[in-house]
């Protein structure tokens, strides 16, 4: 573990309070929505980081299936860890999004294309956890779980990126779309960036901790295997 990696991960301790302070005190309120718009500094990073977590779990699954010599250990468990963090973040995205919907459009859930596609993603990953628990005790669990995660990762771009852009959506214009910025002036952009970094470092930190716990647990099992 290099010092650089450790520094990046521990930067969570600085970034998150910074993001909170910036979100509430430094960024201006939006023109139309008022102070409700501050929810954007939590909702958008949560969504992005959950997609990142799912992508990481998919990539680790591909590595697991292709790594015949077992140079990297327990990649299937690590992809499981990443998928569980991704699921937690996705659930939080849905909760924050529905709160925003209640504040600005008056109802919690509208079956908007973007909302529907997020629900689909949630269902796919919840099904992954059912699959893993159904396979407990089976030594093929890692392989089958990884195949399913690859399948899920491949469906991800369609639901997260394509569907909301093809169908007309109530959802505010996506931030990556260059010519559709509604109200992102300089300060807001800065706060959003810091918030994204803060949540990414939170994800990296928790993922790192979960992986370390995993290796300690496995090493302890190995040690006691001879008992």
């Amino acid at each position: 573990m290099t010092i650089l990696t450790r520094g990046v991960i521990k930067s969570f301790y600085i970034l998150m309070p910074l993001a909170i302070i910036m979100a509430f005190l430094w960024a201006p309120s939006a023109a139309v929505l008022g102070d409700f718009s501050r929810i954007i500094y939590f909702h958008v990073p949560l969504a992005w980081v959950s997609v990142l977590a799912f992508l990481v779990s998919g990539v680790l699954s591909v590595a697991y299936l292709m790594d015949k010599k077992k140079r990297y250990r327990w990649l299937d468990e690590k992809s499981y860890n990443s998928a569980s963090i991704g699921l937690a973040f996705a659930i939080l995205t849905v909760i924050t999004g529905s709160l925003w919907a209640k504040l600005t459009w008056g109802s919690f859930w509208n079956w908007d294309p973007r909302e529907t596609s997020v629900v689909l993603i949630l269902l796919i990953y919840i099904a992954y956890f059912s699959l893993r628990s159904g396979l407990s005790g089976n030594e093929q669990r890692g392989v089958i779980g990884s195949s399913y995660l690859i399948l899920a990762m491949i469906m991800l771009p369609f639901f997260v990126f394509l569907a909301p852009r093809i169908y007309d959506s109530l959802h505010p214009a996506t931030i990556i779309n260059a010519d559709k910025r509604i109200y992102l002036d300089g300060r807001m952009r800065m706060t959003l960036l810091v918030s994204v970094l803060a949540f990414s470092s939170l994800y990296a930190y928790i993922f790192h901790l979960m992986n370390r716990m995993l290796s300690v647990k496995k090493a302890t099992e190995d040690l006691h295997a001879g008992d």
Binding site: L120, L123, S130, G134, V143, I144, S147, I150, L151, I154
Partner: protein, 220 residues
């Protein structure tokens, strides 16, 4: 490899139709659902949207009941090891895939006329309706083959298969329902892309499952 595929396909058909377990379960479910629907509706006309929703729910759950059997039977009767040794992975996948497709077509061929008959549905665009039913069936069968292979390893307990396939099949169901509704009341536009989506989805999922199947099938 073509010979192996045909041989496996023939064997699968013979074995499945000897006891006809999966076929019976699927078709019995479809018949029961349709008949009870028609009975309790008592002649009240449903709107085309509701009709297409009901049709696809019945088709979907008939598929859920029957389509995993092809792999689960191999595990239950302990013939999967034999299959693993004697036949190459690709042939196994293609033969099971073709079997599932044909099975799904049989289900649709039985369920749809039954549904139309019992609920007295008038179809505005017949050819489009048939094409949608076939394309939707192909998409469902493509997706469920790989999921059935995974679930068979997990013991094949009933609802795990439904839980796993449902999120993957939700877009298929959504598109099929809306285009069937268009076929039933004649409101679908000329350049409706639903069929293209369903066929593209089938092709895409088949390709991915072909690549992933060898990892699921081979035990080391």
């Amino acid at each position: 490899m073509g010979e192996e595929i045909l041989r496996n396909l023939r064997k699968d058909f013979l074995v499945e139709f000897r006891s006809r377990f999966a076929l019976n379960v699927s078709i019995a479910f479809a018949v029961i659902a349709t008949v009870s629907l028609s009975l309790t509706a008592g002649g009240t006309p449903f709107s085309p949207l509701v009709q297409s929703i009901l049709l696809w729910i019945i088709i979907f759950f008939s598929a859920m009941n029957g389509l995993s059997h092809i792999f689960v039977r191999e595990e239950d009767q302990a013939t999967s090891l034999f299959l693993r040794i004697t036949v190459s992975v690709d042939s196994v996948f293609i033969s099971k895939f073709l079997y599932n497709q044909i099975f799904m077509m049989i289900i649709i061929a039985v369920v749809t006329p039954l549904f139309l008959f019992f609920l007295q549905i008038h179809v505005a665009l017949i050819c489009y309706f048939i094409c949608t039913a076939i394309a939707g069936g192909m998409a469902i069968a493509s997706c469920t083959t790989i999921v059935a292979a995974m679930v068979a390893k997990a013991g094949g307990r009933g609802s795990l298969f439904s839980i796993l396939s449902f999120p993957l099949l939700l877009p298929v169901l959504w598109v099929s329902i809306s285009s069937t509704r268009g076929a039933l009341d004649g409101s679908s536009p000329a350049e409706d892309a639903s069929l293209v989506f369903l066929l593209a989805f089938s092709g895409f999922i088949s390709a991915i499952s072909f690549l992933l199947f060898r990892f699921v099938w081979i035990e080391e």
